[in-house]
Amino acid sequence: MDALIAQADSIQKIQKKQKYAQEHLKSSSSSVKPSSSLPKPDNTRNSIAKRTNVPRSLQDKHELSNPGPSYKHIANKKLRTQLTRQSEQGARSKALLEDAEMLLMEDEGGMQVEGDMERTWRVAQSEIVSEIGQEAAKGRKEIRLDGGPYRSRYSRNGRHLAIVGRNGHVSTFDWQTGTVHAELQLEETCRDITFLQDHSFFAVAQKKYVFIYDRDGVELHRLKSHIEPTRLEFLPYHWLLASVGNAGYLKYQDTSTGQLLVEHRTKFGACETMAQNLHNAVIHLGHQNGCVTLWTPNLPHPAVQLLAHLGPVVSVAVDPSQGGRYMSTAGRDGTLKVWDCRNWKGAVREWSSRGGGDPVLEWSQRGYLAVASSGTVNIHQPPSIQTAFNAKVQPPLYMTHPIPHRPLTSVRFAPFQDILTVGHDAGLSSILIPGSGEANFDSREANPFENKKARREREVKTLLDKIQPDLITLDPEIVGNIAPPSKLTTETTFDGKPSKEIPFARLPRLERLKVSGKVDDGENNSGPEDEEGLDDETRRQRKAEQEKRKMRGRNKSLKRYLRKQRKNVVDPAAVAIRRKLERQREERRKTAAEADGSLEQKKPSALDRFKRKM
């Protein structure tokens, strides 16, 4: 038995032996003095260290400048180690992320002026085309088409373009190679078009319903529940097709299961303006009465409602470059506004558009704002367009381009390209906006060069990663974070000990009522203890206020409390309350008497301070 016990602590045994050996050594040669302050070498660790260490070439050389919070207050050692390791890992990966920015290969486009008097907005498209290479100049195009004002939409990787004319001409094509996928003459009013998960499906908002076509233009579905749609948006990570129409209903259709997920009655009438926030999948609608509303599928009412303009809202766009922080709106009242989505107090910037016609807005991936109104397209640059500015003047222009074919009905930036496509009455024209596109795409998210196999692979992967629609919230960071502590908690503290959670079922009844918010604690609020330091005047005022705030009956809860008390039990609490009620009654009687003059009001004297306070 003892042998076994000794065996179990074999490491300690070795140490003991060493200590003995050391002492022996010390006694034999007293000149050698081992430093006792040094930590003892761990034999077990040393024996395996050689074989288990990572080779020096592979060791992490990153010195953690900020190793994260210390968890010294956590008593559980296992949990503490885990948390420390986690935060270290987080800090390290953050540092590595910064390093990874060096590996980004491509550079953004841009324009740089050299002289003081030069302005970027003076540069015309013809100059840009002559300046840059032949291949890049291919982005500048004029497409002449009949059939009314055109709207366009790019696929998520920026490779494919879908266009729709008001009179029913629909076409999707690879705009870089010029391959046409589908060309349809629907011969009825078409109001909007959008690609679904990739270019193999697209949805068209037609005269009466929404229709879904495949890449070759074969009609696959008629979505009967979307009646008279005006605008379409596809939420790619949730696989939801959202439409809003003349009836003023916002409808979400799940394109992976085919179910109509939810329909929200907006109660604002016909709606012709819709935009999605790419970073939290919230739908922004602009209404006839000047309101902008933000919708999620799980709320039957708008998450945010905002009076943005004094006339109908004609265009809404959300900035994808800052994580969806900025929204811009345009109204028929001739003003353009940029809003901060975290703080709706007022617009960040506000200016009025020139000329007639409804402005159309769009943000690029790098935060350039395009405003198309009355025959010109104006581009504003990011830092100035998003900084607060009090004066209602137009922000500095980056570029401007006249288009003679009014009205201009849509502006779309091509993802990962410096191209802006403007749809107008006579077709479409794409212009070059240097610096507007994100240079480095991530081929796991959206790859302009992906082949058929990769596209199929990605389709399956994204379908597996489909996020449930009830996770759409204004704050997308809510997933994976710790829930805020509930206000109705069962946590209690006992005489200075750390607070402790007691299960609901094991609480006493009064506590349980308190936790579920059902307790009537009216009697606790009128505590006279804290009013010691106040003078009579303020006290009277406060009392009068309290009296006024009370609608009906005086102190009903106290009386009810007394009634519920059994009469034959002498309870100190009940006695105190009875005394207090008595006192209140007396005081009321006295003030009433003073009011009608039967009792003359005493002048305040110096001896009042010795009177017993009530």
Binding site: M1, D107, G109, G139, F441, I467, V479
Partner: protein, 449 residues
């Protein structure tokens, strides 16, 4: 002059150079390029948890051959595939797990129940069996045994045997009857008797420690658990517990840890240096635990119970074990781990030996590198998101047979009622007079030396 540059993607960088080459991958780790990264990862974790449950098909095979309940199973040391099983009908069968065939089958090894089996570890490896017919038989492991049905040697005993175990290195074995007896393989009578001085109980189970091989532990019907040392030939410690234990197993990696399967539905691990309290209580069975065995890694163990379930536990985690059951499996009277820790074998009252995977959703057969990588990714996702309510629910939920489920519910209700009653009683006694007793302190009644 204005310097103008327009973004251009060079196709030669982003397209494969030759047909058949892999497409180049370009990454941009800017979080703004990856919206909903966390939400998508959560979906992936949820899918991983669901896939884990979908692939959970633990049952591998059932080995037939016994006509009555299987009482005892034994793993052959140094072999991955061979196990022996003994039954209430007196038959002993040696199975080959990989071919699922019988190496030999002795239909009448003993009259009545075969109560103990172990392999000797001398040259040529023999099998020892003991039974309630008061004999210990030594069998050769070959085809001939099947035909002759004759043991090599018979060691006659005085009383019926309940259990036996072989010494790790020496040609010694121990049997349990009314005392613990130590036998030499070459001698026909026991070389020593071990018993606790005052005990009059029947010993039900005996096991040698694997590292400190002269230590052995036994269980008795007086709700006791006794430790002996064969070098001193004495019983060293004895612990009397609240309820009787049915089986015990020494940890293969921690020599001081011992596992007891108790009649009170729980399993206990003890550190034998400190026998006053168990180091951990394992609660999930809803009837008596009949058998237990450690995995060779010492991080898991298996237990089989009277409630017709097999449970696989993590060492140190006293709740929510993996649970296996089938419609046709009856009371599980014996359970062992395979030597590679990948499989679990159980013998039950229906006369079958069943083979289960130790990890329910593990894939058998060749796993490619890609598959391995994705399995590891899924595992880490599950680990990372286990605090998520939904993921946790999917990972934790197990379907149980109705009888087990109802019994568990009833048991929970009874325990709750007992707790409440205890609390009320304490509330109405004088303050500080009666303190709640920790669960661990309730198990051991007395420790004797």
């Amino acid at each position: 002059m204005v310097k103008i540059s327009v973004l251009q993607h060079d196709p030669s960088v982003h397209l494969p150079v030759r047909p058949g080459d892999p497409t180049p991958v370009s990454r941009n780790l800017n979080p703004l390029m990856h919206p909903f990264a966390k939400a998508r990862e959560r979906t992936r974790a949820l899918n991983a948890a669901k896939m884990d449950r979908m692939f959970a098909k633990p049952f591998v095979d059932a080995l037939e051959g016994h006509v009555d309940a299987v009482e005892v199973l034994c793993r052959r040391p140094g072999s991955l595939t061979n196990i022996a099983s003994g039954s209430w009908d007196g038959g002993v069968i040696m199975h080959n797990l990989s071919t699922r065939s019988q190496i030999f089958n002795i239909s009448q090894a003993h009259k009545g129940k075969v109560s103990g089996l172990c392999f000797s570890n001398g040259e040529g490896e023999r099998l020892l069996s003991c039974g309630v017919d008061r004999n210990i038989n030594l069998w050769a492991i070959n085809e001939e045994t099947s035909t002759t049905q004759k043991p090599l040697t018979v060691f006659p005993g005085k009383t019926a045997f309940n259990s036996m175990d072989h010494h790790r290195t020496d040609p010694l074995f121990a049997t349990a009857s009314n005392t613990v007896q130590i036998w030499d393989e070459t001698k026909s009578a026991p070389i020593s008797n071990l018993s606790f001085p005052t005990s009059t109980e029947t010993i039900t189970s005996v096991r040698f420690n694997m590292s400190e091989s002269s230590i052995l532990a036994s269980l008795g019907t007086d709700r006791t658990f006794t430790l002996y040392d064969i070098r001193t030939g004495k019983a060293e410690r004895r612990v009397v517990m609240q309820m009787q234990s049915n089986a015990l197993a020494w940890s293969p990696t921690f020599p001081t840890t011992i596992l007891l399967a108790s009649e009170d539905h729980n399993l206990y691990t003890f550190d034998i240096r400190h026998l006053a309290t168990p180091t951990q209580i394992y609660k999930a069975h809803v009837a008596a635990v009949m058998s237990c065995d450690w995995s060779p890694t010492g991080t898991e163990f298996v237990s089989g119970g009277w409630d017709r379930t097999v449970r696989i536990w993590q060492e140190g985690k006293g709740h929510a074990p993996e649970v296996y059951h089938t419609k046709r499996m009856q009371r599980v009277s014996s359970s062992i781990y395979s030597a590679d820790a990948r499989f679990v074998m159980t013998g039950s009252d229906d006369g079958n030996v069943r083979i289960w995977k130790a990890k329910a959703s593990e894939k058998l057969g060749v796993v490619t590198a890609r598959e391995r990588a994705s399995i590891e990714y899924r595992d880490s996702l599950k680990e990372r998101w286990k605090v998520d309510k939904e993921v946790d629910r999917v990972a934790r939920t197990r379907h149980l047979p109705k009888s087990v489920h109802q019994t568990a519910k009833l048991k929970r209700e009874m325990l709750d009622a007992r707790r409440v009653k205890e609390e009320r009683r304490r509330k109405h006694t004088r303050v500080g007079e009666e303190k709640p007793k920790p669960e661990r302190k309730k198990t051991v009644l007395v420790e004797q030396t």
